[in-house]
């Protein structure tokens, strides 16, 4: 075990701050909360599958396998995919709050409850 417990705490902090931000009334805070949340999820995956220092999953030129043990490449691939997906979704969300602000005229989620009830 290297720094996984540290990351575990960091993940908790990110989850907490993200939650707090999403409980605000501001659209901007909402979207920032979502961004933090996605970072938290990625770090969680990173931490849970184990951390390795200084051994990226790369194979030196001319070799068939890495020289020694390397960091688990699979979570990295998953996180990469997740980062990209989150980017797409968050880009959408960012523009959405922009447009919502335009049509509603306020950066206030409490002005946006007409579609319920």
């Amino acid at each position: 075990m290297t720094a996984e417990p540290l990351l575990a705490i960091l993940v908790g902090v990110l989850f907490a701050t993200a939650t707090y931000l999403m409980l605000r009334r501001s659209l901007v805070k909402l979207v920032i909360g979502l961004i933090l949340l996605s970072n938290a999820a990625n770090l969680l995956i990173f931490a849970t599958s184990g951390l390795t220092r200084g051994a990226p999953p790369l194979i030196p030129e001319g070799m068939l396998t890495p020289e020694g043990p390397v960091a688990d490449p699979l979570p990295q691939a998953l996180i990469l995919t997740a980062i990209v997906i989150s980017f797409g979704v968050l880009a959408f969300a960012v523009v959405l709050i922009h447009r919502a602000y335009e049509v509603v005229g306020a950066d206030d989620l409490d002005e946006m409850k007409d579609t319920d009830t």
Binding site: R53, G54, A55, P56, L58
Partner: protein, 93 residues
């Protein structure tokens, strides 16, 4: 190599210290451009961290991250500058 390892550790500490200091500037602001300046320096510090880490681990591959960082951190500054020019909220506090 003890000297190098010592230097690497010291470098990490110095960089960390620098990071903490510039973070204070980022929080204090007071204006957005001040924060952008801080962010720029943090990008540079990140390059420094990566370089140090590459030496510490003897893995040169990490330098690639620094290449990208050097190029793109600039973009954020351009974005902020444009934001300010277009008349966004500026005093911000």
């Amino acid at each position: 190599m003890p000297i190098l390892d010592w230097a690497v550790t010291a470098t990490f500490v110095i960089l960390s210290l620098a990071l903490v200091i510039i973070f204070i500037r980022l929080i204090k602001g007071p204006s957005l451009p001040d924060r952008v300046v801080a962010l720029e320096l943090i990008a540079s510090l990140t390059v420094g961290f990566i370089a140090t880490h590459a030496v510490a681990t003897r893995m040169a591959n990490f330098l690639d991250v620094a290449v990208v960082l050097a190029l793109t951190a600039f973009l954020a500054a351009v974005g902020f500058a444009r934001y300010l020019e277009k008349g966004g909220e500026r005093s911000d506090d």
